[in-house]
Symmetry: C2
Subunit: 233 residues, 2 copies
């Protein structure tokens, strides 16, 4: 792990407030690896041997129902931890993590989590803060699924992705990894057909531009209005 890397890594949320030396201790025990697009980092129900830090790329967290339906729980961006089942007293991963693009990740054996958390209190606190945010996010999703209709859910999902990974282009903000209609449907609890219809309607109104596995939000503000639903259609 080169010095340059450490400097960059030190600013990431999971390590906020940590001593540089302590961070080095952690990094010294990490294994760096490259994951190619569409490869699983870990599988639902598998033994949680390790936890990970995403350095570069984007990871899709997916749950599959017994009858084969997929639900995308969330997308992970660089600087976030994943696979921290161990920190929550679980022995298996609750979901599958798949690289949405080629990724670079660090990994540590799960067993080290407790050691790190005990030795570096900031690290433990940061992790639990992240867990709290995820719990809140999950509840927000439940509420959204309970109370909002499809178009608003889809609009909201796109806005979240743009906020997370939006890349400025001449057309607007591009979501920075391949995202199909089916993916959007799996995030919002609908079908690719409905998503497709929505996207064409929005494209006609100039809110978004989209192509094959590609979405650009042209008018985030108008899309937000639609998501929050202050105004009519």
């Amino acid at each position: 792990m080169s010095r340059l890397d450490r400097t960059l890594i030190a600013d990431l949320a999971p390590f906020e407030g940590m001593q540089a030396a302590d961070l080095d201790t952690m990094l010294g025990q990490a294994r760096s690896m490259r994951v190619v697009k569409d490869t699983a980092i870990f599988d639902q129900e598998a033994e949680a041997h390790a936890f990970y830090l995403l350095l570069d790329g984007h990871v899709r967290v997916v749950k599959t129902t017994p009858d084969g339906q997929q639900v995308i729980v969330r997308y992970i961006s660089p600087g976030e931890l994943l696979g921290i089942a161990h920190a929550l007293g679980r022995t298996t991963y609750p979901a599958t993590a798949v690289a949405a693009v080629d990724c670079v990740i660090l990994s540590w054996p799960s067993r080290l989590w407790s050691e790190f958390a005990a030795a570096f209190p900031s690290f433990g606190a940061n992790t639990y803060k992240a867990v709290g945010a995820r719990l809140q996010d999950a509840h927000a999703r439940v509420i959204e699924m309970s109370t909002e209709q499809v178009d608003r859910r889809v609009a909201h999902a796109l806005l979240k992705l743009v906020q997370q990974t939006g890349k400025k282009t001449e057309d607007g903000l591009l979501i920075d990894f391949p995202l199909s209609r089916q993916d959007i449907a799996d995030m919002t609890g609908t079908t690719l057909h409905t998503v497709s219809r929505l996207m064409t309607a929005w494209e006609e109104r100039g809110l978004v531009k989209s192509g094959r596995q590609k979405v650009t939000v042209v008018e985030p503000h108008k899309l937000l209005l639609l998501a929050e639903g202050q105004a009519g259609k």
Copy 2:
């Protein structure tokens, strides 16, 4: 806090693996209080001054949307912690907690949480394990909302409540607190009308018996079949 109380409390999940003396330390700083039915224990968005342990009764955790719709996040049973926002790095409560029946609770100032967690590692671990379970539960709800239709969601919600609070009666398993059609609707993301229709249909088939704010599951096994949807209707 009498000795009898301590003996009963020592078996609760949040204190598993703790020394009796340490538990006494915690209980010594607790405030015991009675909460009457339909009174709020804490409010959404309010400063998280305290965390609580439910000793007796049942608590409904509710989130209200900006436009006034209610969603019931979960019901809490005796022996569970609530209001642990502080443990997850939050300063406000994410939801409102209301006594579904007259309740007895203990409370501690939030500030003590960190002290307890540091001094009594089992307590911290137990809490995070519970958080992990809640996170998993929330994800399961998202998935259910995304993939299952209303009847299965309602069936599943009833089964969870029965499992949590089921009280054996001559008719079957009674859910042990007042539960209206509207409450069930708020748990499952539907309307009281749809719930009412389902309940009458199920009553005719002998799966449940229900009255005003009262639900008894007569045939849990058949209801489970309906929830899991192996068989047709």
